[in-house]
Amino acid sequence: MPITSHTPLTPYENYNISLFVEVKKFKAIIQLLKNGYIMQEIRFHGRGGQGTVVASILLAKAFFSAGYYVQSFPLFGVERRGAPVEAYLRLDKKKILIRSNVYTPDHIIVQDANLIQNVDVTKGLKPEGWILINAAGSPESPDAFSGFRLALVDATHIALENNLGTRTQPIINTAMIGAFARIMGEPSMEMIAGAIKEDISIQPEKNIRASEEAYASVNLYGKVD
């Protein structure tokens, strides 16, 4: 699905009545998670070298600080730079007992929009699940995501502005987790900053800033019809 600068969808913030209803519906799901009635499973898509596994670990640590049981693991393959990789995160208020792969995620995080052409990123994604994509602008033909909720964040731009990585290899994972925290309403930016400080020894402050900027600038489009 090409991502261009056209704007056929209304961002969440300028919501009309139907989006307002949808915000309430998603908040109800988060409430079920918070009250221990449901588990949430998140799948991360990226390329080897993009810090996809690290993103899942940082988010796990931040959600743990927010009072959740967490379980994070990579797709168990032989990782190579540039090749598609996956990582998973389970969240629950109860101890997580299931130790098998994630097949029907509640939400997905796509660290590289070009992956969408090669990888079936929505495979098994539950209806109305969020798809967070690292992309500039807004989706031109979001039909591929019909029935799901869409959010875009220009994590590459944010990373470059903060001098994270190089022009060809920007470090975008910390921006992605900041944007995801906005979608879920949790964990707080303090908790994300704490996880970054614990695990990232190179330029933690810049990574925290990238995470905060992504939190502030992510476009939540909501459900795609």
Binding site: Q71, S72, I98, N101
Partner: protein, 392 residues
């Protein structure tokens, strides 16, 4: 302090807290993270220990045998082909009655070359005289590794702590990491039974004649027979200090269970979820988690399984020409009992193939709907087309 920790690092943290003095290892996926973290601890002074890099697993085991023979607390970690390569020296370590602790990440053996979960690597070392513990989560890995040193040093036998590849070794989850002070209280410095000393030279590991060899072997068995009671005492003490206990095996809702699923490692964790679901549907399902495999807790297995109508064993391992290894052992534990449940053996999840809650439920229903178990194992989820394309 509770931290989000990788399963591999739960081992590394336990080794640090146990104040291990000598580590020797050769890297192999998926064991690498364990020894990487330990070597970093040794390099930055967090651990006051010697990390000896060697050119093979055979040498790694030889090096820890040397260290333990000189009265030093020693550790190594490996996986799959690495463990197979150590095989000769595994016998040596137990025969020499050395309290070595090793972590093995359960990985398949090749060919087909495969880095994923399969428990055949360690189960095929069952006759080497090592104590074996199969763990289900990161907390159990950390706790069991600490207990392993106490136990090994108490009975003078080596201990293997087993972790499922990736599903445990590479999975991050909350783990309580105890304080050094608490661990020091639980695990005093090693007081070695033998200690090679250049100031006081003596010879060990000599030729033993037929007139004495059997007695040496019998003594190893006597030490193994001590393990169950010693481990129970060690766990009680551990619980007093740390407030946690896992047991040499665990029976979950077995008292009134009609069908008991028996399995080891991370599959036991998924099984807990499955039996809760089955109970909600009115099914009388139970779980027997198998943790201690050597010595084999025959009495306890008999007691927990004796009242069930059927037992279904899920093996992520296989003994060619026979069956799943845990199934064999459970059958042998039950065979001298007058009244015993039929044992259904299933082989699933070899070489990293996933065992999902659905897989386990399918096994439950197959067991419920059949009255007579097959002598051979039932293989779950085989792709018949592939089987036929490679048939002899």
């Amino acid at each position: 302090m509770k931290k989000v920790l990788e399963g591999s690092h739960a081992v590394s943290e336990a080794v640090r807290l146990a104040r291990v003095q000598m580590i020797s290892a050769y890297p192999i996926t998926p064991q690498t993270h364990i020894v990487e973290a330990i070597s970093a601890f040794c390099a930055d002074g967090t651990m006051n220990a010697r990390f000896l890099c060697v050119e093979s697993e055979h040498s790694a085991m030889a090096a820890v045998i040397g260290a333990a023979s000189s009265g030093v607390r020693a550790f190594t970690a490996t996986s799959s082909h690495g463990l197979a390569y150590m095989h000769e020296l595994l016998h040596w370590a137990s025969g020499a009655r050395l309290p070595i602790v090793m972590a093995d990440v359960n990985r398949a053996l090749g060919p087909g070359w495969n880095i994923w979960l399969d428990q055949t690597d360690s189960l095929s070392q069952r006759d080497t005289g090592w104590i074996q513990f199969y763990c289900e989560d990161g907390q159990e890995v950390l706790d069991t590794t600490l207990q392993a040193f106490r136990l090994a040093e108490s009975v003078n036998l080596p201990v293997m702590v087993l972790l499922d590849a990736f599903f445990l070794s590479h999975t991050y989850e909350p783990v309580e990491v105890p304080d050094q002070e608490q661990v020091d209280q639980f695990l005093p410095p090693l007081s070695p039974r033998i200690q090679l000393d250049t100031a006081n030279p003596f010879a060990i590991y000599q030729m033993v004649a037929p007139s004495a060899y059997m007695e040496m072997r019998y003594n190893i068995q006597l030490a193994m027979e001590l393990v169950t009671s010693r481990f129970s005492e060690i766990e009680d003490e551990f619980e007093t200090i740390f407030g946690r206990k896992h047991g040499p095996l665990e029976a979950v809702q077995c008292e009134d269970a009609e069908i008991i699923l028996a399995t080891a490692g991370t599959t036991a964790s998924t099984c807990r979820h499955v039996i809760t679901d089955l109970r909600k549907k009115g099914e009388k399902a139970g779980l027997l988690k198998l943790k201690m495999f050597r010595p084999y807790p025959t009495d306890q297995i008999r007691r927990h399984l004796g009242q069930a109508q059927k037992v279904a064993v899920i093996d992520r391992n296989f003994s060619f020409g026979a069956s799943g290894i845990f199934a064999q052992e459970i059958k042998s534990a039950l065979c001298n009992k007058d009244v015993r449940p039929p044992v259904f053996g299933y082989v699933a999840g070899l070489g990293g193939r996933d065992v999902t809650p659905q897989t386990l439920e399918e096994i439950y229903w197959q067991t419920k709907n059949n009255n007579i178990p097959k002598d051979e194992s039932v293989w779950i989820g085989l792709n018949q087309e592939l089987v036929e394309s490679w048939s002899n």
